[in-house]
Amino acid sequence: MCYSRRRSPWLFHMNGGSCNGCDIELIASLTPRYDAEQLGVRLEGSPRHADILCITGPVTHNAVNAIKTVYGQVCGPKAVVAIGSYPATTNVFIDSRTLDGPLNLHLPVDVFVPGCPPRPDAIIQGVAKAAAILAERAAKKLPANPVVMPLVGPPCNGACCAPTNKETTEVQS
């Protein structure tokens, strides 16, 4: 059972006010180049079928109730992956009056995948980590304990990557 849970993570993708960059990267991780289906990953249409909730975006006022509802609709055992820097820290929109972020104020996030946007291989790594956490937690009935994934691949040419990583760790500590 534990092994099956690890080998069959079904995702439900939810946009919490993202700029669509991370959403594109999540879809890119299912394409032939990255092929997340090798790990048994399937993008499901209904949150009822999913094991892992993938949330992008800085959690706007409009999105926060929807995110809570969808989290309630996912059947346990479940895990939450925050994709990108926005759900982790709200990134450049920090202290904006339109936001209710970051995400871990509302949901128990298991894995943070930093990056703006993160690379598809980082997302796959994060999902695999989340599946392992989910399986272990379901087997031992452990409480949620968030994990921050390291940055994968070459840094994107800009100021976003380095401070993002630092901010994420700060949020965690």
């Binding site: 059972m1 099956s4 092929d35 289906e37 090798q38 048994g40 249409g45 209904s46 079928h49 059947c75």
Partner: protein, 304 residues
């Protein structure tokens, strides 16, 4: 067919004991071949098994009343019907059977899609209801062609007994009928280009939207068993008559496998059609062939 052989066929071969691994294998072949055709590596061999076990271990939302009971019941009925349909297939050369078992097989093959329609409506989800309405429209369209094709084969061979149909030499009617059945199979199995009822992402998951955990596992299993039953029916009708039982079994499995590959190739190569296009396709384009097949079968029967 006495009770013991009937039970042996339902429980062992080609029933549950053979059909459940075969269902997982066919689900894997479908996903893997689509992945290979798209230039991906695809899921590992045990993936449908992992999915099934994982779904069994998930919780389901609490449901009460008759609606909740029905939602638990529909997937079980679908699995039972699909497994019995597989059990009726005459894989052994002299496996028994009875007069009219083709009609029972058709009824059992139809039950899972009836269950899907009922399941969508009893889940009270708007997406489930849209999916069920689509499934109903689809079922009305392809079933006319499907049933006419099977009746034309049966009429040309003067029997409704599956084993007799499998043993008789093939006639031209037979092949036209088989072609018509093959055209209907993507709609029966809800794969592209006729994946309208469970249109992923478009209407969430259609009738399955509200299902979770073990119930969803049963739906996946019934889908796999439908694959085995439908491809097995084609393999039975297409296989040449063989006396050695193990050659017959190998030919049956090889032909089923070929049909799965063919359907997966069609699924990978096409996109989902709209519901009106699908209905028009079946009523306008393929119905002509089915009517031709059945009228020529009746004509030949009168001449002989």
């Amino acid at each position: 067919m006495n009770l013991i052989t009937a039970l042996a066929r339902f429980l062992i071969f080609p029933g549950l004991l053979f059909a459940i691994p075969a269902a997982w294998f066919f689900l894997w072949v479908e996903r893997k071949s689509v992945a290979l055709m798209q230039g991906r590596i695809g899921p590992p061999f045990m993936q449908p098994f992992f999915d099934f076990i994982k779904l069994l271990g998930k919780s389901t939302p609490p449901r009460s009343g008759v609606g909740g009971l029905l939602m638990k019941l529909w997937p079980l009925i679908a699995v039972a019907a699909a497994a019995s349909a597989v059990g009726l297939l005459p894989v052994w050369p002299s496996s028994g059977g009875f007069e009219g078992d083709l009609i029972l097989l058709l009824a059992l093959l139809e039950l899972p899609s009836m269950c899907i329609i009922a399941a969508g409506f009893s889940s009270r989800s708007i997406f489930g209801e849209i999916g069920s309405a689509r499934e109903a429209a689809l079922s009305v369209s392809y079933n006319v062609v499907f049933l006419l094709a099977i009746v034309s084969i049966a009429a040309s061979q003067h029997t409704f007994r599956l084993e007799a149909l499998a043993q008789l030499p093939a006639s031209p009617m037979h092949w036209i009928g088989l072609l018509a059945i093959l055209v209907c199979l993507p709609a029966k199995l809800h794969i592209n280009p006729f994946s309208l009822p469970n249109a992923e992402q478009e209407i969430y998951s259609g009738p399955m939207t509200e299902y979770a955990g073990p119930e969803l596992a049963m739906w996946e299993l019934s889908h796999g068993l439908e694959w085995v039953a439908a491809t097995g029916l084609v393999a039975t009708l297409a296989a040449p008559h063989l006396t050695l039982w193990w050659v017959a079994a190998i030919v049956f499995i090889a032909l089923s496998f070929a049909v799965v590959l063919l359907l997966s190739a069609v699924a990978a190569a096409t996109a989902r059609l709209a519901i009106d296009t699908t209905v028009r396709f079946y009523w306008q384009c393929t119905l002509i062939f089915a009517v031709l097949a059945i009228s020529s079968a009746i004509f030949m029967r009168h001449r002989s």
